[in-house]
């Protein structure tokens, strides 16, 4: 793809309407071409101007607290001493083999340099994907997990809850779809059994497994293979307790 061809497509890219094949090719070009990347940045800024010019609507008053709590828990920042200890212990001992990833140091606040935290975040996600890959290999021996059909999302607590986790999905046109949920830092007070649900836009709910017990650190993992169901569009994930209360929630980015 030449710079001339790229420049022709950049406006649609910045506006967000460039179809996927061209989007991907253009993305590859931008990785190495500084000139086109600069042009793309300028056009992105121009496109974002449209959003900033909208007459503002006020978000609900409680949204700030939900956003702050979600980010802090996802980032592993301590909320209270008790909660931080629980989450740290859960993460260290959860089904994912996090022991080698330095989580203890992160949770203790000793690894607060930007680069270190960035690396830890990347590795946390990579470890979850690797765990997914290992379990999938056990379920379907001899078949690799296709990267472009594997999607990940994060689970965060609802309201004043604790814990967190990941959800991973294989959404494939050629093999049975598969999901795995990894949780940690939960309490027995979350009223077992916990049910994992996948939801789509139409409100359809799929059962994706049940957690009947937590390990000492509030961790568990659940995986489920869907014999007939296509998981495409089932991007919202909830972990609910036996009273139907949502304990953890998250969204899978199936476009990634």
């Amino acid at each position: 793809m030449t710079c001339l061809e790229v420049r022709e497509l950049l406006p649609e890219m910045s506006i967000g309407v460039l179809p996927e094949p061209e989007r991907e090719r253009l993305g590859r070009h931008l990785q190495w071409c500084a000139g086109c990347r600069k042009e793309a940045g300028d056009l992105d800024q121009a496109a974002a101007t449209l959003a900033f010019a909208l007459p503002p609507a006020a978000p609900p008053a409680d949204l700030e607290e939900r956003v702050v709590a979600g980010v802090r828990r996802t980032a592993g920042a301590p909320v209270t001493r008790r909660r931080a200890r629980t989450v740290a212990a859960g993460l260290v001992a959860a089904a994912i083999a996090f022991a080698s990833l330095g989580w203890g140091a992160v949770m203790a606040g000793r690894a607060d340099r930007f680069a270190v935290r960035a690396e830890q975040a990347e590795r946390q996600q990579a470890a979850a994907i690797e765990q997914f890959r290992r379990i999938y290999a056990n379920v379907i021996p001899g078949r690799d997990l296709p990267d472009n059909e594997t999607h990940i999302g994060q689970l965060t607590p609802v309201a004043a809850g604790t814990g967190g986790g990941f959800v991973l999905q294989l959404v494939s046109p050629t093999v049975l779809d598969f999901s795995m949920v990894i949780v940690n830092g939960l309490h027995e007070s979350d009223r077992l059994p916990l049910r994992v649900q996948l939801l789509n836009r139409d409100g359809s709910v799929l059962r994706a497994g049940q957690i009947t017990g937590l390990n000492a650190n509030g961790g568990a993992d659940v995986y489920h293979q869907f014999k007939t169901q296509d998981l495409a569009g089932f991007t919202r994930v909830r972990v609910v307790d036996d009273q139907g209360q949502v304990v953890l929630a998250g969204t899978v980015d199936q476009s990634a």
């Binding site: 990347r37 900033f52 909208l54 503002p56 978000p59 949204l63 980032a75």
Partner: protein, 211 residues
């Protein structure tokens, strides 16, 4: 940790980090260094940094979600998703390549458009609401965001036809080809007009470059 104080109405929402704390700066857009510090604070889960980012950008993100997705519930989910996505992508933010506001709004727009694509099962964004960019002249919000004032000024550089064209693509999700087929004009003409309109906005934006 204390909640970052909001700006008084009429003041610019300038905030910056001093060590682990977020302070108010009297006026003006964020410096590149301040943007980098806020993103570092976000990645570390620094409460003041998250609140500072929320104070500046939650409203436009929520507004965009409302416009594209059509419901307050969906806009709330989008706002939460944007901040979590920003945390995940924080290590890739480079202030030398673009403003923090652009980065966040690009994340928000992409998430909203992707959600529409997934939920409507179409290969392009679904046309949800009116296809025009907003009218100029809204100034009575309680907590003005400096980006909005500049955005309105930048859009004044466009003709009405250019505003409609950009709005059909950005808010309506129509590709250049679909606009060309709908209006019965050559594809190249639509692409040229889109590019011309964006470049006009970009030039206008350059007048408000960071100090």
């Amino acid at each position: 940790m204390t909640k970052a104080p909001r700006q008084a109405p009429g003041a610019a929402a300038g905030v910056y980090l001093e060590g682990d704390r977020v302070s108010n700066r009297p006026e003006g857009p964020l410096l590149a260094r301040e943007e980098q510090q806020l993103v570092e604070g976000l990645l570390a889960g620094n409460e003041d940094a998250v609140r500072a980012l929320y104070a500046r950008y939650a409203r436009p993100i929520f507004t965009l979600g409302l416009r594209l997705l059509g419901s307050a519930e969906a806009a709330e989910e989008l706002t939460q998703d944007v901040f979590l996505a920003a945390w995940r992508k924080a290590a890739r933010f480079d202030p030398a390549r673009g403003r923090l506001s652009t980065w966040l709004m690009t994340i928000a727009h992409n998430l909203a458009v992707d959600r529409l694509r997934r939920e409507t099962g179409v290969t392009r964004p679904h046309l949800v609401l009116v296809d025009e960019v907003p009218e100029v002249g809204w100034v009575d919000e309680e907590e003005p965001v400096i980006e909005r004032d500049a955005a309105i000024r930048a859009l004044e550089s466009l003709s009405d036809a250019e505003k409609r064209l950009l709005g059909r693509a950005y808010f309506g999700g129509l590709t250049a080809r679909e606009i060309a087929e709908s209006d019965g004009i050559p594809l190249g003409t639509v692409k040229t007009r889109l590019r011309t309109a964006l470049i006009k906005v970009r030039r206008a934006n350059q007048d408000k470059e960071r100090p």
